[in-house]
C-alpha cells in the first residue's frame, strides 16, 4: 500500500507557515524540453532534443488564511524581492520528501481576501528545487 502526501510542512525564511490544507503545490523547475524531428530521407527520421532553460524556474503555490500576521508576513516576502527561501517537508510511512526553493519571489500582485473564510493565494517563483 502506498500513502499519498497530503500534509506537508512549509517554512519560509526559517519560519513555519500555517497553510490551508490541501493547498500546497510545487513544480520542480526542471523546465520544458523540445523535441523536433529531423529527416534523413526515405522515411528515416530522428529527433533533436533540447532543453529550454528559459523555463527552468520552480513554482510554489499555497494558500494561507487572511490574518493580520499573515498579511504582514506576505507583505514582507513581497518586499524582500527574491531573498526568500522556501522549504517543503513531508513524511509518509514509505519515506520523506524535502524540497528547498532558493531565491524565491512573489512576482504577481496577490489578493488579500478579507471574507469570513478568505485566503491569500500565493505563487512563488524560484530557482529549481533542490
Amino acid at each position: 500500500m502506498t500513502t499519498q502526501i497530503a500534509d506537508p510542512g512549509v517554512s519560509i525564511n526559517n519560519v513555519p507557515v500555517g497553510v490551508t490544507p490541501n493547498s500546497v503545490k510545487f513544480t520542480e523547475g526542471l523546465g520544458e524540453q523540445k523535441m523536433r524531428a529531423v529527416s534523413f530521407g526515405a522515411g528515416v527520421t530522428g529527433q533533436v532534443f533540447s532543453n529550454d532553460v528559459e523555463t527552468n524556474f520552480a513554482k510554489v503555490m499555497l494558500e494561507i488564511p487572511s490574518t493580520v500576521e499573515n498579511i504582514a508576513a506576505v507583505r514582507g516576502w513581497k518586499l524582500g524581492g527574491n531573498n526568500n527561501t522556501i522549504t517543503i517537508v513531508a513524511s509518509t510511512v514509505e519515506g520523506d520528501l524535502t524540497r528547498i526553493f532558493k531565491k524565491a519571489a512573489l512576482l504577481g500582485d496577490y489578493e488579500n481576501d478579507l471574507g469570513a473564510d478568505g485566503n491569500i493565494a500565493l505563487e512563488f517563483t524560484s530557482n529549481k528545487a533542490v
Binding site: 526559517n14 519560519v15 513555519p16 531573498n83 526568500n84 527561501t85 532558493k102
Partner: protein, 142 residues
C-alpha cells in the same frame, strides 16, 4: 548590553536572503528584566546544585585545586550530578532562546523554534553552559 559568542561544533543550515547558509557561530546577548521568568528558575537550580555539592563535600579532604577557571561544561556537569531536573532546565532555556530574540545565528538571523530544534545536542549543551556561566549564574560563581 554585553554578549558572548559560541563557535558552532556541528553544522547548522539556515535560510538567509534567499539562499541556504551554514552557521559559523551564535551570538548570545545578556538577558534583561523582561526575561527574568525564564532565567530565574535556572539560576535557582544552579544555586541549589551548588548547595548540594557543598553539602556533599563537607567532611571530605579537599582535592588539590588545579586553579583552573570554572567552564560552562563544569556547570552542566554540576547540574547533571545534582538532583535538578535537566529536562525542565532545558525547557526554560528553550523558552528564553525562542522568545527573547537575544540569540542570533551568525549575528544576523534571530533564533526561533525551528532553528533551535536544528541545533545539535553538542552545541545546545555548550550554549546552555556558556550562557549560564556568562550571565544567568555569573554572580553566584564569584
Amino acid at each position: 548590553m554585553s554578549e558572548i559568542q559560541h563557535e558552532m561544533i556541528k553544522p547548522l543550515e539556515y535560510d538567509y536572503k534567499g539562499d541556504t547558509e551554514t552557521a559559523q557561530f551564535i551570538v548570545m546577548q545578556e538577558f534583561g528584566a523582561k526575561h527574568i521568568q525564564y532565567t530565574a528558575p535556572i539560576r535557582q537550580a544552579v544555586m541549589r546544585a551548588i548547595r548540594e555539592a557543598q553539602e556533599a563535600a563537607k567532611g571530605e579532604q579537599p582535592a588539590d585545586s588545579d586553579g583552573g577557571e570554572v567552564t560552562g561544561a563544569d556547570l552542566i556537569g554540576m547540574l547533571e550530578s545534582s538532583s535538578e531536573d535537566m529536562a525542565k532546565l532545558f525547557l526554560w532555556f528553550k523558552e528564553l532562546c525562542v522568545k527573547s530574540k537575544l540569540f542570533k545565528i551568525d549575528d544576523s538571523v534571530v533564533v526561533n523554534g525551528m532553528l533551535y530544534d536544528k541545533l545539535s545536542a553538542d552545541d545546545l549543551y555548550a550554549i546552555f553552559g556558556e550562557y549560564m556561566l556568562a550571565f544567568i549564574a555569573a554572580s553566584l560563581l564569584k
